[in-house]
Symmetry: C2
Subunit: 131 residues, 2 copies
Amino acid sequence: MRELAIGDLARQVGMRASALRYYESVGLLPQAARVAGRRVYPVSTVRRIALIRMAQRAGFTLAEIRQLLSADGDHGATGQWRTLAERKLPELDRSIEQLRVLRDAVAECLLCGCMNFESCRLLAPGADQDV
Amino acid sequence: MRELAIGDLARQVGMRASALRYYESVGLLPQAARVAGRRVYPVSTVRRIALIRMAQRAGFTLAEIRQLLSADGDHGATGQWRTLAERKLPELDRSIEQLRVLRDAVAECLLCGCMNFESCRLLAPGADQDV
DNA sequence: ACTTGACTTCAAGCGTGCTTGAACCCTGAG
DNA sequence: CTCAGGGTTCAAGCACGCTTGAAGTCAAGT
């Protein structure tokens, strides 16, 4: 089975069919082929959606992701993708670093016996790490 | 000057005053002291807001952050904070890992001369890394 | 006294990312 | 044949995270 109905696809990627239709409507997914009026997706779409969700977690908006993926198939706009990617790389680095700091703070805070996150010694004024 | 007006605070943290009022309204910031009806913030609020923004970037909702910070000052609910934090730690790890994968993919993709992100060899079916 | 500018509250509005509902169509099983 | 379980479109609605607008207060400067 190399093609999926929208419901199957939705199940595979853990989303609702309505979300997939929405993605198509905003150009995140290409217009799916229709068989008897119904959308039929190649299995590769699963991968594409995984990419989309990943980028979304990374803080990209759907509009940005559309550009990243060149959903419109405009391969002439390659320069645009490079530009966008180059602009986003440092942002990604920053996001990762901040997440890492937060993660470590939460982890240590759990160990240090403090009452809550804010009162934790880790985050006391002296411990400023330029966030 | 150990206290800040809402406008000053907003400038310091790079947000609009309306956002700070909103944070107060949803319990993310405690009710600020009023002087002649106007909010006055201790400088420590800058730090608190930095935490909030950090957690936000990490994918926490404002409601979750409120719990994390025990904004209501309910120090009896410490167990809740531990529970939430323990539940969130693995999520944070997962987020970081996914971000890292995305970052590396984007970086390599920029080097590999592909036309766009999706067509990149890195992300070809064979290169599946269980995202 | 008057103006300016920053503040107040409250309600309504907005952008993003979907979901839901209504009304309809198709296919396959019983 | 019929009817259940998908699917379709289109418009409206919703939750989150704020912003904007209206109408008013207050303090300082000229």
